[in-house]
Amino acid sequence: MPKFMSRNDLLLFAGFSLVVLTMPIWLAPFGAGYPDLLQRFMIFGIFAVGFNILFGLTGYLSFGHAAFFGVGSYAAVWSFKLLTLDAIPAMIFAVVISGLFALVIGFLCLRRSGIYFSILTLAFAQMSYNLAYSVLTPITNGETGLQLTLSDPRVIDAAVGQGFVGQPVPNILGQQLSGYAGFYFCAGFLILAFFIAQRIAGSPFGMMLKAIKSNQTRMQFTGFNTRPYALSAFVISGMYAGLAGALLAVTDPLAGAERMQWTASGEVVLMTILGGVGTLVGPVIGAWIIKYFENILSALNDNILARFWSFLPEGVADVLVKVTSKFVGDGWHLTLGLAFVIVVIFLPGGIMEGVRRVAGLFRRSGSSGAKTAPQTQPAE
């Protein structure tokens, strides 16, 4: 067995990478095989993986992670405006800035735990949102959102004499990041993000985070100063959120304050719980499912529904169109809410628990060995 990674970890990582990279192929039959949506799958996957390091491993539920996502976006767009249109410096800049921001907010919020911690993060995130929306308009361009313009200085691009024609678009080493290039760029980061999360979960540091979640009192009486451990989990997950925000700015160079609103913070909580808190792949799957159904359901309208139900007698079809139309389009959050309630009641461990239960049914004939499997590799 190699010392760096166990065989199971290696298999999981290889399987995950394969699934991600082949997404354009296997998602095509589901009507999701186009770059714009796939990029969002990658971006929110990264967001959820990072959020899970704080919520799933360490047990601190933050209701304000969209703030770091938004800061990442703003930082990336400023890098495009001031430095260069190349994506790499923008990403580095965004991750560093959101990490610093998370350090300050985390330092303050982690003075409390449980619900008080959650409320503090929510309060800070709403403050950030309001600052971005109005007070800090010179930096954020208020409700219009921060955009690229032809007159931006871009000192590095100007210094190397790179000119361009038309609307400025982010690139990497001159290669444009539109379409599938953008998807593979984001996919590379998701795989990297997953790898780092996997390393954290399998390290002594990760075990300490799990121990903090399990019993903070025992941790302290065991001689651990838990604060720096929780704070580093907070900063790492803030940097993940910043990375995701930067990627969104790379694929669409516009940053708006609504990205920092509490609904966006709530969404990543839903993704993590829906997929499976504390598991490695669960949050990613949760992010994919939510983004997929958001895409499908919010595009439906009364006309499409009328065609769908047209095989029924006219009166019945009209009623069904009326009822179902509340659950699609702008009302798709109603469907999301219902699905969430059902999962929390029947599968508190999320989709990953469902997968484990099904796997357990197949393995039952084996032996009690199946029972010990999930705990020797809890990060499955």
């Binding site: 067995m1 010392k3 760096f4 990674m5 166990s6 390393r199 954290i200 399998g202 390290s203 002594p204 540091f205 990760g206 075990m207 300490m208 799990k210 121990a211 979640k213 399990s214 019993n215 009192t217 025992r218 941790m219 302290q220 009486f221 065991t222 001689g223 651990f224 100063n225 838990t226 720096p228 451990y229 580093s232 010990t372 705990q375 020797t376």
Partner: protein, 254 residues
């Protein structure tokens, strides 16, 4: 202090909760290598005293000195790092982790307690710590349960594991808060056997206990607490014969 063997000195401690004198004028000297039991009826202030020693409660006056360090005002993790480990009345364990990991964490605490961002090292490669933890589990007779979830253990096994978690740190002082509370006769006896085994190693222990059977089979010295005061102090035989103790505790309760 006058006696150089004293490792823990509870000096003139008072603790008031509003108008209630939970502890008055407590002066305790615990000697190195001895097992010192603190007994007393319910509400005598035993748990308050332990919480003052461990730094969970601040005394209203007086102080607690361990090996030249004033414990008062220190945080639990700092007190642990001075060499004090604690077993709780209800086992405080990492219920969602395996037994082996439960025992590995305190061993890592000695090394990384203050904070190390060792997130790129693999848990698999911590062979030294793992071997130590396995050895410790073998010592308390739980090696065959190492892959079980700690939360699924029986009460007696949780206690044994918690003891292993404390012992792996080689503490200079072990505090035990009713180590056999809520246990079956069988579990109580295995726990006493284990504590006797540890006693042979010369570790200093303070036991707070209800069960006379446990106290008289383990303690070198006993202090009897009643209504927040120490009413008797001495060897088990001295305490057993003390009429004040008979009246306040042994006679009254049984």
């Amino acid at each position: 202090m006058a006696n150089p063997n004293v490792v823990l000195h509870v000096a003139d401690v008072h603790k008031r909760f509003g108008g209630l004198h939970a502890l008055s004028d407590i002066d305790l000297q615990i000697e190195e290598g001895k097992t010192h039991a603190i007994i007393g009826p319910n509400g005598a202030g035993k748990s308050t005293l332990l919480n003052v020693i461990i730094g969970k409660l601040a005394p209203s006056s007086g102080q607690v000195v361990f090996d030249g360090n004033v414990l008062t005002g220190k945080k639990p993790y700092q007190i642990n790092q001075l060499g004090i480990a604690r077993v709780f009345q209800t086992p405080e364990i990492f219920a969602d982790l395996s037994v082996l990991h439960n025992v590995m964490i305190p061993a890592l605490a000695k090394r990384d307690g203050m904070f190390t961002l060792n997130m790129m090292r693999s848990l698999e490669s911590e062979t030294g710590i793992r071997a130590k933890a396995e050895h410790m589990l073998e010592d308390v007779g739980m090696l065959n349960r190492r892959d079980m979830l700690a939360g699924s253990l029986s009460r007696g096994d949780k206690r044994r594991m918690e003891l292993a978690m404390c012992l792996i740190q080689h503490p200079r002082l072990l505090l035990l808060d009713e180590p056999t509370a809520g246990m079956s006769r069988h579990d109580t006896n295995t726990t006493i056997e284990l504590l006797k085994k540890i006693k042979a190693r010369g570790m200093t222990k303070v036991i707070i206990e209800h069960d006379m059977h446990v106290v008289f089979s383990l303690a070198d010295k006993i202090s009897v607490l009643a209504q927040g005061r120490i009413i008797a102090d001495g060897t088990p035989d001295q305490v057993r014969g003390n009429p004040k103790v008979q009246e306040a505790y042994l006679g009254g309760a049984h």
